[in-house]
């Protein structure tokens, strides 16, 4: 039996897809109804999930990869004394072991790792559509007491960048909010989405956190990825590697992004962005 788990819809879909590629004897644990598994146990939250998952003593748990899911999955692995891997891209059973593919070293390399059973894995978000089943749903109320008191919850915006055909992405090298505004206009003219590195989203706050591309943000695959002032840290590259054409603009021709670009424009990102925007607007006028 494989237990599929996630506290959110997207994570459950991604986890179901990987679980279905391993086997068909699936039981789901989630907070909302989904038909990617034939049997589903509905639970309330993190604490109930830990209890429900570990009491089933499964040989394999396939979990979503959200920050909450990671916490639940890791706690379950500790209780089951199970092997663990997160960021799983693909998995298959090999006898009494599970072989997974996952990024390592900040997303710089792909590792094949063999895990002893029982195993708990968290999958990297994918845009797959798993098979669906007629589903039997059990709503459960497990008596649990959390050691953590939640005082406040604030929902933030979420943007799905995976469907974007063009992405204009900015890094520190765009210089500031003025540059981000230019990039935003560029994205608009090109009919694309605006995104950024961890530095400009999480750290500097030039863009909201749901615009982050990379190992701790989203994985995207547009036709064109225009990277403005992004140095190309492995953590960022992991999120944009599946782009069809990569155009990078950077002052430094030896920046790591040069290795990951089809076209490297050696220029100041801000200057280039404003010139490109002007040229595009001129073209539209004609």
């Amino acid at each position: 039996m494989i237990v599929v788990f996630s506290l959110d819809r997207d994570g459950f879909r991604s986890a179901s897809f990987i679980a279905q590629s391993i086997g068909r004897d699936l039981v789901g644990i989630s907070t909302e109804v989904s038909n990617y598994v034939p049997q589903l146990r509905l639970i309330g939250g993190e604490e109930e999930a830990v209890e429900a998952l570990s009491s089933m003593r499964p040989q394999l748990v396939v979990s979503g990869g959200s920050r909450k899911d990671l916490g639940v999955a890791a706690r379950v692995a500790a209780r089951l004394r199970a092997s663990f891997s997160s960021n799983v891209l693909a998995a298959k059973l090999q006898g009494q072991r599970l072989e997974v593919e996952r990024p390592a070293y900040g997303g710089k390399v792909k590792a094949s790792v063999s895990l002893e059973l029982p195993a708990v894995i968290c999958v990297s978000g994918n845009d797959s559509s798993p098979d669906t089943f007629p589903v039997q749903v059990n709503r459960e109320h497990l008596p649990v007491r959390s050691k953590i008191r939640v005082l406040e919850r604030r929902v933030r915006d979420s943007t799905d960048l995976r469907s974007a055909k063009v992405i204009v992405s900015v890094g520190r090298g765009i210089g500031g909010k003025e540059g981000v505004e230019l990039a935003s206009q560029l994205a608009q003219v090109l009919g694309g989405a605006l995104a950024g590195s961890r530095a400009v989203t999480a750290e500097l706050g030039w863009l909201p956190p749901d615009r982050q591309i990379g190992i701790s943000g989203q994985r995207v695959k547009p036709d064109v990825y225009l990277a403005l002032g992004i140095s190309g840290q492995p953590q960022h590259v992991f999120g944009m590697r599946e782009s069809k054409v990569v155009v990078a603009v950077n002052k430094d021709r030896n920046a790591p992004i040069a290795e990951e670009a089809d076209y490297l424009v050696v220029a100041d990102a801000l200057t280039f962005a404003s010139e490109l925007l002007r040229a595009l607007k001129n073209e539209l006028r004609r």
Binding site: G71, V109, K147, I148, R149, E152, R153, S216
Partner: protein, 237 residues
């Protein structure tokens, strides 16, 4: 108050080169990125609440990296040398070593494996609350108040000490040690231990993610560059 900052010695991923399909891991070691934030936060908790900050590392015990951590201001370091530790084995060793601490602070993920699992595992093994992906904390009167950054949600939570927390890279800006601290760090105590662990995982192979890029470099006048980019945008859209 006894605060523990856990940190990991990792291969510097920015130095890793993939040549002819072979991944060369014989590169300089470094302090895993977000562990620097963990150490910084532990020092701030000590500054506000008094007590001590003990650093602990499990796995590789690179002397230079340990000194760097000490130079930031740790009082001492416990260095547990172990080969082939996976997430759970690391958590088991950590849990054993840090029993009796009031607050255990770790980074949100390591730059090598990046499982983001060890803090939750340590909490579970010790029966303590684990607050993960924390972007701000306040410690007072035996409690920790924390703001968790869960991506599309922020959660303000509270737990009694002792507790385990993992911090995000945004929680603070880690301090740079002064020369004096670097010199003094050589006199601080480092307890070295060696343990044998059973790893539940085995790394079969490391490969580069294959992406074939054209790597055309466009230099020169910005207007010429714009013209060329416009042309290739037309071809790709």
């Amino acid at each position: 108050m006894r605060v523990v900052a856990a940190f990991k010695v990792v291969a510097d991923e920015s130095m890793i080169k993939v040549v002819g399909g072979t991944v060369n891991l014989a590169v300089p070691k470094k302090l895993s990125d977000y562990d620097r934030n963990a150490i910084e936060q532990a020092l701030r908790v000590r500054e506000e609440n008094g007590g001590s900050v003990i650093g602990i590392t499990v796995g590789e015990t690179d002397r230079r990296v340990i000194r760097e951590a000490l130079a930031m201001g740790l009082d001492e370091v416990i260095a547990v040398e172990a080969q082939g530790v996976d997430a759970l084995a690391t958590a088991e060793v950590l849990a054993e070593e840090i029993k009796g601490s009031d607050l255990i602070i770790m980074g949100e993920s390591s730059t090598d494996a990046g499982n983001s699992a060890v803090p939750s595992m340590v909490g579970e093994i010790l029966g303590l609350p684990s607050l993960t992906f924390v972007r701000s904390i306040r410690v007072s009167q035996g409690k920790v108040l924390a703001e968790r950054d869960l991506g599309n949600e922020l959660e303000v939570v509270e737990a009694d000490l002792p507790a385990v927390i993992s911090v995000t890279g945004e929680i603070n800006s880690p301090r740079l040690p002064k020369i004096k601290q670097v010199i003094e760090s050589s006199k601080k105590p480092v307890k070295v231990k060696r343990v044998e662990v059973k790893s539940r995982i085995e790394v079969k192979s490391l490969q580069s993610f294959q992406t074939k890029r054209k790597r055309v470099v466009l230099e020169g006048d910005v207007r010429d560059q714009v013209r060329e980019v416009l042309q290739l945008l037309r071809g790709s859209l």
